[in-house]
Amino acid sequence: MAIPKVMGTETEYGITVPTSADFNPVLGSSLLINAYAAQAIKRIRWDYEEESPLRDARGFDLRTEAGEGAVDGDLGLANVILTNGARYYVDHAHPEYSTPECTNPRELVIHDRAGERILEESMKRAAEVMPGGDRILIYKNNTDGKGTSYGTHENYLVDRAVPFARLVHDILPFFVTRQLYCGAGLLGGQSPGKEGTYQISQRADFFEVEVGLETTLKRPIVNTRDEPHADPEKYRRLHVIIGDANMSQVATFLKLGTTAIVLKMIEDEAITEDFSFDNSVQSLRAISHDTQCKDTYKLRDGRTVRAVDVQWAYHEMAQKYFARNDPDPWTAEVMLRWDEMLSGIERDPMTLAGQVDWVAKYRMLDGYRLKNDLAWKDSKLRMMDLQYHDVREDKGLAYLLERGGKLERLVDEDSVQRAMVEPPSDTRAYFRGSCLAKYSKHIAAASWDSVIFDTGQDILQRVPMSEPLRGTREHVAPLLAQCDTAAELVSRLQG
């Protein structure tokens, strides 16, 4: 029986200071986060205790360092948790925004967009303290077009009982082909000779293997990081690194919704047909360059299929699955829009300019090119490709398309504004965010699966949250309302 698909996104943003050639991106990322957090809340340190890759390297004494704020003791990098339950921190040389846990794709679209607004706000606040009118510009994309990539990851809660080898087998063909409607579009590639070519995916060029643990080299289509941030006996967190940074809300919605559906089907052993590609990595890259979406690719069993055929097959298996299994409240909308996308790809991909990033961007570039008689290699078009992902509402070209009614909005701006400060109500993010809002002076640290209180006693009090669906508004709001202080809350929780 499939488990609820708790999900979140993590986005690394590209940053630059056009007026300063020797700008340091690590310090710049820290500045953005600190500038935002300084005004948002008392900064709470991230608790690394349950993060296995870092645990050994970063042992620290919470009692001596509690209250130090956002600065990580070892590296001096900003790392904060916000009242909406999100984590905002420096990862390598990028500011990274991890949304709070959500139970459905529409709410996650809202929180993903709230992340864009938080980055834009950070940029404005950072500009106030930067010298000489310098400004950090921020892009929600995945590559500089010079061989470097940074990620837009998704996370889904998966039943630990599912054998991982089957999960990999069943999801690979879906991951290779979902770029048809999830690709963010890229003018050019990473190697000489690709200038002036347009491809569907920002990320496809960077993937080298089918399965693996790495995220920065030899990138795998299915990432095997096993760090559930929840009860490891019951759960796995599928860490998805194959995705592009979407600006289109519909594309984000579909990326999350279809993947969540396929994962539920895998849990219930409902992937009954094998569409394994003869060479997944080659097919992934070739599909990215097939903007007509008509080429065929060889499967391991000898058949040749189009990418859209594989997506239709998953769609059809999903229909059969939901004829036998109860759908989630969001299932019907995902299924309908998934159908619309695949029908559009079949007819003419260009008809999807209002929903799919790579098509929206292509039509804009092509229109501008024809109007101004430019070559595809023209730097103005490359600038437009980059600026499509600019997080400034008045400069970002995806936002320009949205304002002009050319890119469909799925969620209203009020919800996005609320999500900048309020957590989702139906996951543990509610407890995390609400505690931050109410008891921040007495919180020493927090993480995905714990909040650590400092109530002035000798020992810090750690409240574990290993169940992502506990700590919801329904579950804890009455308790939080009754407790005026952190000490009361801790005592009630222990009682």
């Binding site: 990274e96 010079k146 990851h153 690194i241 004829a323 159908d339 804009m364």
Partner: protein, 70 residues
């Protein structure tokens, strides 16, 4: 259990996939309409791009160099 019945009902509302039933027909009309709306005045928008596009595009794009992430 009403499980099977519930599932069937949902299936119907989802539009029936590529099987050419009424719902799917409706879907295609909607998409085509959306596409037409998009086409109509992209021209106006292209003019607006000139007013927001970064100056010195060539230099800007050349100096946009990122370090790896993830």
């Amino acid at each position: 259990m009403s499980k099977t019945g519930g599932g069937q009902e949902k299936k119907k509302r989802q539009g029936g996939g590529g099987e050419g039933d009424d719902d799917a027909g409706q879907t295609q009309t909607d998409v085509a309409k959306k596409a037409e709306e998009v086409k109509e005045d992209l021209d106006e928008l292209l003019d607006e791009i000139d007013s927001v596009l970064e100056e010195n595009a060539e230099e800007f794009v050349r100096s946009f160099i990122q370090k790896g992430g993830e």
